[in-house]
């Protein structure tokens, strides 16, 4: 056992509390043994075990012991400090001692939940408790620094999640910057025809919200823009937004489409992104009729002016308000915000990655999103469901789980495909009277009114084949298969392999993280799961927070979810951001670095280490000094200091050496 660290003032009197966490810890760790062991450690005055230390009586126990036994240091061995460190620091403070005279030992996540053997778990718990006891003696009293919070909020992504979060925040009086990468807000929802399970029209419920965003005095909307850089920390973020040139002056354009009419291309010639290439557009175009803002843009990749420099610029001539500007460049805008809501959404799975289903090979194979556009009255066919050759399908196969629940693509369930497949089955049957065959693995309809929707489809005579389709092919076995696409699958409820000829195949593609999720997450300093979904701070208790304070998540960027869940989560993220801003300040963890000027040799090694330029050299004194307001508390400078002059509060060399000694003191 190492000697206790040096302390200022009174002798160290430590209280150690071993939590059972019900059976979560006590089921694996002999808590009585660990408690007894703790009692034997130097400086320990009281050692107890208790069923739930985080409960009110548990915290009360600590406070009572502080009063009765004059404790001045507290160690709690329970769950992860990331879970309850704040709880117990508060308990210590309420008990009358400095909250940083506290140390936690993680014997749940790091011991009881990961160790098979009881004796080994108990021994490891002893070591971690010994380390905490060894370290806490050297803790110093610290004060938290308060920093004012900037009152504005940035919302990234203008799909339904970003729209709802922005409106909620703006309605509460916050100034909101809404940044959207595409030329219009609306996201995927704007492309849908109807929404399950109520079958209300997506446009009818979405477009009013889109207009509200445009009109709201508290919202600054930047479409065709991306966040280029983020710096700062909770309450004080500096953000750079890059507005891409749309070659149209946004304030002047009234969306009259005169330029589109006038374009030298008489007909649309290029794949229309909004309709997944099922329609054509011109180089100057309005993304879709209800685009918000109602402003056209010019695509330089297809515009004759940009490609050849030899266009008569009919669009420019046609604009009465002189809004066309071929010389537009990227524009960088700097803003300061207190909180950020990330709502960057998902991307649909690329169906060509499952070659068995023939997407891109057979014209009769469509993705579900393409069919959304075909069903849509404002879509490329005016809502007529016709195949690429003009025929109306008589039989349609809908293949579920394309790019979901598959080790070769995505292992997870995309959550929405069963329901949207049912919706499309209903819509296609309603419009065409076709026979519809759903090929599913498991029908997943957990949601309000969802199972009832499934019941309705069963009544409508839609066929359900429980079996994952093995292939879509065009080779035939029987005369009725001629000219058709054949779906081969085992009907598992019957136990027979079936070949079902259809005219149209709909691939219910799953949801994937955006291709650039990795870059976006670095920008905001947040984490990703293996699949690229942004990681929430806690899967149950902090579902919209991230590991970076002040950055919140909304919608499908966190994982596949449907519209009701997305909107609920967007509201939650807005509320979290509001809570932060309305509080008006943040208390920073006092783990900043500092320089012992007596020891500093003025070598400036630390200065180069700091990524935040928080350390400067004081020429007169020939020492380095840390600006604590800028320091984020990584401790990189401390590790680099050759004379041990640089130190970090809460992580001083001595505290860490004590912890190492403690962890190894027990064999």
């Amino acid at each position: 056992m190492a000697t206790l660290g040096p302390n200022q003032g009174d002798a160290v009197r430590i209280g150690v509390y071993i939590c059972h966490c019900g059976i979560n810890i006590a089921g694996k760790v002999d808590v009585a043994d660990v408690t007894q062991f703790a009692a034997s450690l130097p400086g320990v005055v009281v050692a107890r075990d208790y069923k739930f230390m985080c409960s009110d009586p548990g915290q009360e126990l600590i406070q009572q012991d502080i009063r009765e036994h004059g404790l001045n240091r507290i160690v709690v061995a329970s769950c992860s400090p990331l879970m309850h460190e704040a709880t117990f620091r508060r308990a210590a403070a309420e008990g009358g001692i400095n909250p940083f005279f506290f140390q936690m030992a993680n014997i749940r996540e790091h011991v009881s939940w990961v160790t098979a053997d009881k004796a080994a778990a108990t021994e490891k718990s002893r070591a971690l408790v010994a380390a905490a006891v060894s370290r806490v003696g050297g803790h110093e009293a610290l004060e938290r620094q308060r920093v004012a919070v900037k009152p504005d909020v940035l919302v990234v992504g203008g799909g339904i999640a970003g729209i709802h979060a922005a409106l909620t925040l703006a309605d509460s009086g916050k100034t909101v910057y809404l940044v959207e990468r595409e030329p219009t807000i609306g996201g995927h929802m704007a492309k849908f025809d109807k929404t399950f399970p109520t079958l209300d029209c997506a446009a009818c419920i979405l477009t009013p919200k889109m207009s509200l965003v445009r009109q709201h005095p508290n919202i600054t909307l930047w479409t065709y823009a991306e966040v280029a850089d983020v710096s700062g920390y909770v309450g004080n973020f500096s953000v750079t937004v890059r507005r891409k040139p749309r070659y149209v002056i946004e304030d002047r354009c009234v969306g009259c489409n005169a330029c589109v009419e006038a374009c030298v291309f008489k007909e649309g010639k290029f794949a229309d992104e909004f309709n997944y290439g099922l329609a054509k557009r011109k180089p100057v175009y309005m993304p879709f009729p209800q685009a918000t803002p109602s402003v056209v843009l010019i695509d330089p990749a297809t515009c004759l002016h940009f490609k050849t420099g030899k266009c008569k610029q009919a669009c420019k001539a046609a604009c009465e308000r002189d809004a066309i500007d071929f010389d537009q460049r990227d524009e960088l805008v700097e803003i300061e915000v207190g909180a950020i809501v990330v709502a960057t959404g998902f991307q649909p799975f690329d169906a060509e990655r499952v070659p068995e289903y023939g997407y891109g090979q057979y014209p009769g194979v469509y993705t579900s999103l393409e069919v959304e556009r075909l069903v849509n009255a404002s879509g490329p066919t005016g809502g007529e469901i016709t195949l690429r050759d003009g025929r109306v399908p008589k039989a349609v196969g809908i293949i579920h789980c394309v790019g979901s629940r598959d080790h070769a693509t995505n292992k997870y369930c995309s959550r929405v495909c069963c329901m949207y497949s049912l919706k499309l089955a209903h819509l296609v049957k309603e419009r065409t009277g076709a026979e519809i065959y759903n090929f599913y693995i498991d029908m997943r309809t957990p949601g309000k009114g969802y199972e009832e929707f499934y019941d309705k489809l069963l009544e409508e005579g839609v066929h359900f084949i429980r079996g994952r389709a093995a292939e879509v092919t065009d080779w035939t076995m029987t005369p009725d298969e001629e000219g058709k696409l054949v779906i081969r699958a085992e009907d598992t409820l019957i136990g027979a392999v079936r070949r079902i000829p259809v005219d149209m195949v709909v691939l219910s593609v799953g949801l994937e993280a955006q291709a650039d999720a990795g870059e976006v997450r670095r920008l905001f300093n947040i984490s990703c799961s293996h699949e690229g979904w942004f990681l929430e701070r806690h899967p149950k208790l902090a579902p919209v927070s991230t590991f970076t304070d002040g950055v919140f998540l909304a919608g499908a960027c966190q994982g596949p979810k449907d519209i009701p869940d997305t909107v609920a989560q967007a509201g939650a993220a807005a509320a979290e951001a509001m809570a932060l801003i309305d509080k008006g300040y943040v208390e920073l963890e006092p783990n900043t670095a500092f320089i012992d000027e007596e020891r500093c040799s003025g070598c400036k090694t630390c200065i180069a280490m700091c990524p935040y330029s928080a350390i400067s050299f004081i020429a007169d004194a020939r020492v380095a000094r840390v600006n604590e307001a800028l320091c984020k508390g990584c401790g990189t400078c401390v590790a680099a200091c050759p004379s041990a002059a640089a130190q970090q509060h809460l992580f001083t060399d001595d505290q860490i050496f004590d912890e190492i000694a403690g962890v190894l003191s027990y064999v």
Binding site: P355, E356, T473, D474, W475, M477
Partner: protein, 286 residues
């Protein structure tokens, strides 16, 4: 570098035409080769049904000999799909299941052989596409196969599940090789659908039907011949055509090894390519 040619049993028997034509093509393209010395049967599918470890041991004996003959990174050419698969599979199992791997390497050691984990097992199409390249092939085609419409049939075990040189669902290597030789190849969806393997010999009605479907579809897509890369596929598709015709109606279509087509394009004689051994003459599409 010399390619080590692993014939396997079929290329010395029913698949003699494959051996003759492939080696003639290798010679014509000046690809040096030597036969694996005292090779043994790969183990094939039937062996795995009896004792898997012994099947992999059989395969590993060949790889050990190849290592001795051609060094640690010797390149073994396995033209027969079953041999190719079994040799690849043995390598995977020995690598992935260390306890089985140890048993096998110990057993080889008992007969003074050392397993070669880095020996590369390659299909001749892999060599032709990646080592030679279609440009060189096209340049060598002195008698290009103008006007010939070939359905390339890859079968199952060449592309599944271990091959990395081609796509598992829509392979193209044989098509690319034959197109370089001047032939036209037809696009058809049954390129990798199984011919039934030994089922023609054991459960004949099932085997015949599988091959009937393949022949019918190839013809329907306008092919005037099928090219294969496996002695068993060739045997099933060709030698059973009389029986298939008896059950399902006339189904005659010439079935050649891709190497026989190549040899023709390279100007080699039919006799050198073993074409006279085929049951269905090249001009016999019905």
């Amino acid at each position: 570098m010399t390619y080590l040619y692993y014939p396997g049993c079929s290329l010395k028997g029913t698949g003699r035409g494959y051996e003759e034509s492939l080696l003639a093509v290798f010679d014509a393209l000046q690809l040096p080769w030597a036969e694996v010395k005292d090779w043994n049967c790969c183990g094939a599918t039937a062996y795995m049904a009896v004792d898997e470890v012994k099947a992999f041991t059989l395969a590993a004996r060949n790889l050990a000999i190849a290592r001795e003959q051609g060094g640690e990174t010797a390149q073994v050419i396995a033209p027969c799909s079953a041999c190719y698969l079994v040799l690849c599979k043995a390598q995977h199992v020995i690598h992935d299941a260390p306890e089985i791997g140890a048993r096998i390497t110990d057993a080889l050691g008992a007969a003074q052989l050392t397993y070669g984990p880095r020996v590369q097992v390659r299909h001749p199409l892999d060599v032709l596409i990646n080592d030679v390249g279609t440009e060189r092939l096209a340049a060598a085609a002195t008698a290009p196969l103008r006007g010939r419409r070939v359905a390339c049939y890859y079968g199952c075990q060449m592309v599944r599940p271990y091959a990395t040189f081609d796509d598992q669902y829509a392979p193209t290597s044989m098509d690319r090789v034959l197109r370089a030789m001047g032939a036209e190849t037809v696009d058809w969806p049954l390129k990798t659908r199984c011919c039934g393997g030994t089922l023609t010999g054991t459960i004949e009605d099932v085997g015949l039907r599988l091959n009937y479907i393949l022949l019918r579809e190839a013809k329907k897509r306008g092919a005037d011949a099928i090219a294969t890369a496996c002695p068993l596929c060739q045997f099933n598709l060709e030698c059973y055509q009389d029986k298939i015709s008896a059950v399902y109606g006339a189904s005659r279509l010439p079935v050649l090894y891709f190497s026989q087509f190549m040899g023709m394009a390279l100007g080699l004689s039919e006799a050198r390519l073993g074409i006279q051994r085929n049951f269905v003459p090249l001009a016999a599409a019905v």
